[in-house]
C-alpha cells in the first residue's frame, strides 16, 4: 500500500507504524511510543523517553542537603509529599537523626492524603482515557478538598516541599485535624458514587477485564512495583515490609489481587483508597504533642558513605540513593523511580492487544512522565 506522496505507509513486513506522542492525550505527558500495528492489533511497542528529562540528578549534585529536596516535588508531582519524605528520610538516615513522633505522624497523614489524591486523579484520568469524561470531574471535586488541606498546611497545592530533614518545615495549621476529618467523611460518602459511575459499568468491565495481563514472574523481573505489581499478586508494599514514619503504628491491609489485568489494577487502586482513609482516620486523632522538627545544624553534612531509602509512593517503590563524600552537597544522587520500571513492562503487557487496550493499560499503570524521565 502506498501513501499519496509515494511513501510506503506499510513496512516490508506489512506492518503499520504509528507514533503516539510526544503530544498525545493518553500518554499523560510527553511520552513517545512507537507502535508497530497489524490492523488495529499492537505487534510491538518501543517507548521513547526523555522528552521531559530535566537533569534533576545532575542538578542535585550541586545543591545542599536542604535544597535538593525541592526538585523531587517536581519529579512525581502527584506525590510530592512522599517524594520529599523519601529524601528527608535518606538524609536522616545519614545523620542518624531521630525524628519527633509528631512529625512522623503528620508525615504519614500527609503521605496518605497524597496517595488518596493521586489515586483520585488517576481514577478520573482513567475515565477520561477510556472515553468517559464525567469521572474526571467527580474525582477532581474530592481532590480539590485535599488540595485545600495541603494549601492550608504548607502554602502550596502541588509542589509542597514540606518535609525537611529532621521533620516537617512548620507545624500544621490549627484547623488541620478538623478539616482532614471533614474531608474523610466527604470522601467516604463518595466511594459508592465512584463505583456507580465507573466500576459497575459494563463497558468499563469489558474494556479492562483480561486486558494487559502481567504475570507475577514478569512483574518481578521487570521490577514492577506498587499497585501495578500488587494486582499481579506480587506482595511489595513497603509500608508493610519496611515500615517507615508511623506506618508501624497503624493497622491496614496490603491490597493484593491475582488477576494481573487492567481490571485488577483498577480494583487494587480503588481498594487502596479505602485503606488510606482508614490509615488517616487511625492517626488523625492521635497526633502527639511535641516538637515537629528535630534540631539540625544549619549546614547539613552527611558522613562519607552511601545511603538508600525506599518508600512507597502511589505508583510504587521510590528509592533514593545518596552517595556522600562528606561535603555539604551530595556526591551522587540516584532516584529509582517507580514509573520507570513500570513503564519497561508496557511492551509485554500491550503486545497483542488493540490500540484501545494500550490506552487502557497506560491508564492503569498510572504513568507520570516526569517521574520516569527525572
Amino acid at each position: 500500500m502506498r501513501g499519496l506522496i509515494g511513501e510506503d505507509i506499510l513496512t516490508e513486513e506489512g506492518e503499520f507504524i504509528i507514533n503516539m506522542g510526544p503530544q498525545h492525550p493518553s500518554t499523560h505527558g510527553v511520552l513517545h511510543l512507537k507502535i508497530w500495528l497489524d490492523g488495529e492489533t499492537v505487534k510491538r511497542i518501543q517507548p521513547n523517553l526523555g522528552y521531559i528529562h530535566r537533569s534533576i540528578e545532575k542538578m542535585s549534585e550541586s545543591l545542599s542537603y536542604r535544597n535538593f529536596i525541592f526538585a523531587t516535588s517536581r519529579m512525581d508531582y502527584l506525590a510530592a509529599h512522599v517524594n520529599n519524605e523519601a529524601c528527608a528520610l535518606t538524609v536522616e538516615k545519614g545523620l542518624q537523626l531521630e525524628v519527633p513522633q509528631r512529625a512522623k505522624v503528620i508525615r504519614t497523614i500527609l503521605s496518605e492524603l497524597t496517595r488518596l489524591q493521586s489515586h483520585q486523579l488517576w481514577w478520573g484520568c482513567t475515565g477520561l482515557d477510556l472515553g468517559g469524561v464525567t469521572p474526571f470531574f467527580y474525582a477532581f471535586r474530592e481532590r480539590e478538598a485535599i488540595m485545600e488541606i495541603f494549601e492550608e498546611t504548607c502554602g502550596a497545592r502541588l509542589t509542597q516541599n514540606y518535609m525537611v530533614p529532621g521533620g516537617i518545615m512548620y507545624d500544621v495549621h490549627p484547623n488541620f485535624q478538623k478539616r482532614v476529618k471533614d474531608v474523610m467523611i466527604q470522601i467516604k460518602g463518595k466511594f459508592e458514587e465512584y463505583d456507580n459511575i465507573m466500576t459497575g459499568n459494563v463497558i468499563l468491565e469489558n474494556r479492562l477485564k483480561g486486558v494487559g495481563y502481567l504475570s507475577k514472574e514478569d512483574a518481578l523481573s521487570y521490577g514492577v512495583t506498587g499497585p501495578t505489581a500488587r494486582a499481579s499478586g506480587l506482595s511489595c508494599d513497603l509500608r508493610k515490609s519496611n515500615p517507615y514514619s508511623a506506618y508501624d503504628q497503624v493497622q491496614f491491609d496490603e491490597i493484593l489481587d491475582t488477576g494481573g489485568d487492567c481490571y485488577a489494577r483498577y480494583m487494587v487502586r480503588m481498594r487502596e483508597m479505602r485503606q488510606s482513609v482508614s490509615i488517616i482516620e487511625q492517626l488523625i486523632d492521635n497526633i502527639p504533642e511535641g516538637d515537629f522538627q528535630a534540631k539540625t545544624k544549619n549546614v547539613i553534612k552527611l558522613p562519607k558513605g552511601e545511603f538508600y531509602q525506599r518508600v512507597e509512593t502511589p505508583r510504587g517503590e521510590l528509592g533514593v540513593f545518596i552517595v556522600s563524600d562528606g561535603a555539604a552537597s551530595p556526591y551522587r544522587i540516584k532516584y529509582r523511580s517507580p514509573g520507570f520500571s513500570n513503564l519497561s513492562a508496557l511492551p509485554i503487557m500491550a503486545k497483542g492487544g488493540k490500540i484501545g487496550d494500550l490506552v487502557a493499560i497506560m491508564a492503569t499503570i498510572d504513568l507520570v512522565i516526569p517521574d520516569i524521565d527525572r
Partner: protein, 151 residues
C-alpha cells in the same frame, strides 16, 4: 541469610571479592569481569535467590566508574549490593545483566546515556533520555556544557 552467612557464601564463590559493611546493606566489591558469573549464581542458586533488582546505577569516582546493583530476594528477604569497578573510564564496558533481570534493560540504557558505560550483549543499547546526537555523558563529573549555567 544473615549478613555473615552471605559473606561466607560469596567468598566461597568468589574469593577475590572484598566487602564493605559500613552502610545499611552488605556491599560486595568486584571487578567488572567478575560480574556476570557472580550475578548468574546469585539469581539462580536457591540459597541466594535474588529475584528483584531494585536499583541499578553508576557512580563516577573521577578515576574510575563504579556500577552499583541493589539486589533483593523476595523469598529470603535479604538484600545485597554488588559494586563492579570499571577501571577504564574512556572505554568503559561491562556485561549486561538484562538477561537475568529484565528491568536492567532500561536502567542500563540510562547508565549508557548518562555515564557512557557500554553494556556488552545488551539487546537495544541506545540513548534513553537524550537525543541521539548528544555529545558527552552528562552525569560524569568532567562533563562540561556551554548551556549549563553554574551557580
Amino acid at each position: 541469610m544473615s549478613t555473615e552467612e552471605l559473606k561466607n557464601s560469596i567468598t566461597a564463590i568468589l574469593p577475590s571479592s572484598t566487602f564493605d559493611e559500613t552502610g545499611e546493606f552488605l556491599n560486595v566489591v568486584i571487578t567488572s569481569e567478575e560480574l556476570l558469573p557472580l550475578m548468574n549464581t546469585l539469581r539462580t542458586k536457591s540459597e541466594f535467590d535474588f529475584d528483584f533488582l531494585f536499583c541499578l546505577t553508576c557512580i563516577d569516582w573521577k578515576d574510575h566508574l563504579m556500577m552499583v546493583y541493589h539486589l533483593l530476594s523476595k523469598t529470603h528477604q535479604h538484600t545485597l549490593v554488588i559494586k563492579a569497578k570499571i577501571a577504564d573510564r574512556n572505554n568503559a564496558q561491562i556485561e549486561t545483566v538484562c538477561n537475568i533481570w529484565r528491568t536492567a534493560e532500561f536502567h542500563e540504557r540510562e547508565v549508557f546515556d548518562l555515564f557512557g558505560v557500554k553494556f556488552i550483549n545488551h539487546p537495544d543499547l541506545r540513548r534513553l533520555f537524550l537525543s541521539d546526537d548528544w555529545v558527552g555523558h552528562p552525569l560524569r563529573k568532567d562533563y562540561t556544557d556551554e548551556n549549563m549555567i553554574s551557580l
